[in-house]
């Protein structure tokens, strides 16, 4: 079972959370102009890396807030937790073009004994839908 460091509530069992799939998938800017191929990409195609993956989780039985997480899909190590709407932290070779500067969330690991540091992470109190901010 994963021990997930909720940015608001601290480390909690995976059973308290729900998975939201890949993070940073923006809603198409001009939906009316998309071709069938482009729609299929938006609806059905997601990254499926063997390695670091940026994904969304919601602490459904806790604070009920969404957040983003970097997790290794082979070792299941949790590498970073960061707020919705902020770019992916630069922590792996798979760097998305938008990341690199802002938001290096505090390290949070599955084995970390310390509670999550919220000092440097400004957790958004609203859960903006993905794509509202790319």
């Amino acid at each position: 079972m994963l021990l997930i460091p909720c940015p608001n509530c601290g480390p909690r069992d995976e059973t308290e959370f729900h998975y939201g799939g890949q993070a940073h998938v923006p809603y198409p800017e001009n939906p009316n102009e998309l071709s069938d191929t482009e729609w299929s990409r938006y609806l059905f195609y997601r990254e499926n890396p063997k390695g670091t993956f940026a994904e969304r989780w919601v602490h459904s039985t806790g604070c009920r807030q969404w957040f983003n997480m970097l997790r290794d899909t082979v070792s299941y190590d949790i590498q970073a937790v960061y707020p919705m709407g902020t770019p992916r932290p630069d922590r792996s070779p798979r760097v998305t073009p938008e990341s690199g500067t802002a938001s290096t969330a505090p390290d949070s690991t599955t084995t970390g004994t310390a509670g999550p540091s919220t000092s440097t992470t400004s957790i958004l109190t609203t859960t903006a839908p993905e794509g509202a901010t790319k």
Binding site: M1, L2, D13, E14, T15, H18, Y19, G21, D36, T37, W39, S40, L43, F44, Y45, R46, N48, P49, K50, F53, E55, R71, T73, V74, S75, Y76
Partner: protein, 406 residues
């Protein structure tokens, strides 16, 4: 001891050749689907200058990590057609392959626990019958007659309100299935190459012309991908994307018991499926873990929930011990149906996305995929399972009948 006394030992069932520098076709993935594909390429299409590449050992991936259930009671016409074809092949393959893999048609029940389940199940029985698939609706008493150890009392959280029943469904011994295909492939001249990991592909424009491996480069005219959970990784190497998400799926077995469980019982709602293996272990499966993963292990709470459901349905299992648990990596699609067909890369074909139900589909996957590789066009049975369906919208939404939530 001489080899004659050990006819079933895998070492004596096929050669372990060095890879040649070129083949007419290369199948990536030496599990059930890859071996079945090679078998039908050789048998139906006369292609014997082919290789099956396996990065580990033969049939050591999902083929060794599933609950061996075989059935064809799917809802939609396209699925019923391909899975029923598979079931018909399962019925004749032991003789055709001259190797018994203990296909036991002991029947499969899919339990209904809510009014919604009941309606969906009865609808599915009707759909099955229209498609020539054997199916019956059983009331709780009939369920009890078929499987006396099932608890059908109505004082549990999700009482058994009935079940669909497919008498021709059952289980087979998965290792023997793989060995049977491998032995026949080898006899027909197919090279089965283990410990051979694909590291890249050679392309000439949009056409694949070879495979790079940790044991050298192999030139080939055609490539078939049969790598289940790792299909996305291979596709990325080849320069295209698949609408696949890989998830861990766990199963477990108990210690050995006397024969107590005469059939196969599945429940989508409380999420457990149980059969008793030929040797006597209770074999149980559950749902996939929600998150993406390649780690071949899953979360303990999934097992916990599955055991709770099992003990409620089968009170006599309460004191059975779990012997071992394991996880496979399943490649799921958004409509819970497989992808068998062409890819954006010319002469490269893909067979993936079988999710939690790949074992039962093995023979039909092999037969139709071999047809696609040999002729360059889909067989009528796999034509609906194309990659294009995600663009055309002609999805085959089998979430209900796939039986394992994913």
């Amino acid at each position: 001891m001489s080899a004659d006394l050990l006819p079933e030992h895998p070492d004596f069932l096929w050669r372990n050749p060095e890879p040649k520098s070129s083949y007419d076709a290369v199948i990536v993935g030496g599990g059930g689907h890859g071996l079945a594909t090679a078998y039908f390429l050789a048998k139906n299409h006369g292609m014997t200058n082919i290789a099956v590449l396996e990065k580990g050992w033969l049939a050591g991936g999902n083929m060794a990590r599933n609950t061996t259930i075989i059935r064809s009671n799917y809802l939609w016409d396209e699925s019923a057609a391909i899975y029923e074809h598979a079931l018909k092949l399962w019925e004749i393959l032991p003789e055709e392959l001259e190797y018994d893999f203990l296909f036991s048609q002991r029947g499969v029940m899919n339990l209904a626990h809510t009014l919604g389940d009941v309606r969906e199940s009865i609808r599915r029985v009707g759909a099955n019958k229209l498609n020539g698939v054997d199916a019956e609706w059983l009331d709780p008493q009939q369920v009890k007659e078929l499987c006396p150890i099932l608890n059908i009392r109505d004082n549990i959280r999700y009482p058994v309100m009935g079940a669909t029943y497919q008498p021709r469904a059952g289980i087979a011994k998965h290792d023997h299935v793989a060995w049977a295909f491998a032995r026949k492939c080898d006899e027909m001249g197919v090279d089965i190459i283990q410990n051979c990991e694909v590291t890249g592909f050679l392309k000439d424009g949009d056409r694949v012309v070879g495979v790079k491996t940790n044991r050298g480069t192999i030139n080939t005219e055609k490539v078939g991908l049969c790598a289940a959970g790792h299909s996305s990784v291979l596709a990325e190497m080849a320069g295209f994307q698949l609408p696949i998400q890989s998830h861990p799926l766990q199963a477990l077995v108990s210690e050995l018991h006397e024969p107590v469980h005469p059939t196969v019982v599945m429940s989508n709602h409380v999420h457990v499926y149980v059969s008793q293996a030929h040797k006597g272990e209770l074999v149980m499966g559950a749902g996939v873990d929600s998150y993406n993963g390649y780690g071949q292990r899953g979360s303990f709470h999934v097992i916990e929930q599955q055991m709770a459901a099992a003990v409620e349905l089968f009170p006599i299992f309460a004191r059975a011990h779990v012997l071992r648990t394991w996880g496979g990596i399943v490649d799921t699609t958004l409509d819970a149906s497989p992808i068998v067909g062409l890819t954006p890369v010319e002469n490269m074909f893909v067979n993936c996305g079988w999710g939690t139900g790949g074992f039962k589909g093995t023979p039909a996957a092999g037969m139709t995929f071999a047809h696609t590789i040999a002729t360059g066009a889909p067989h009528k049975l796999n034509a609906p399972f194309s990659l294009e369906r995600f663009e055309t919208g002609a999805l085959i939404d089998e979430h209900g009948a796939a039986a394992v939530a994913h």
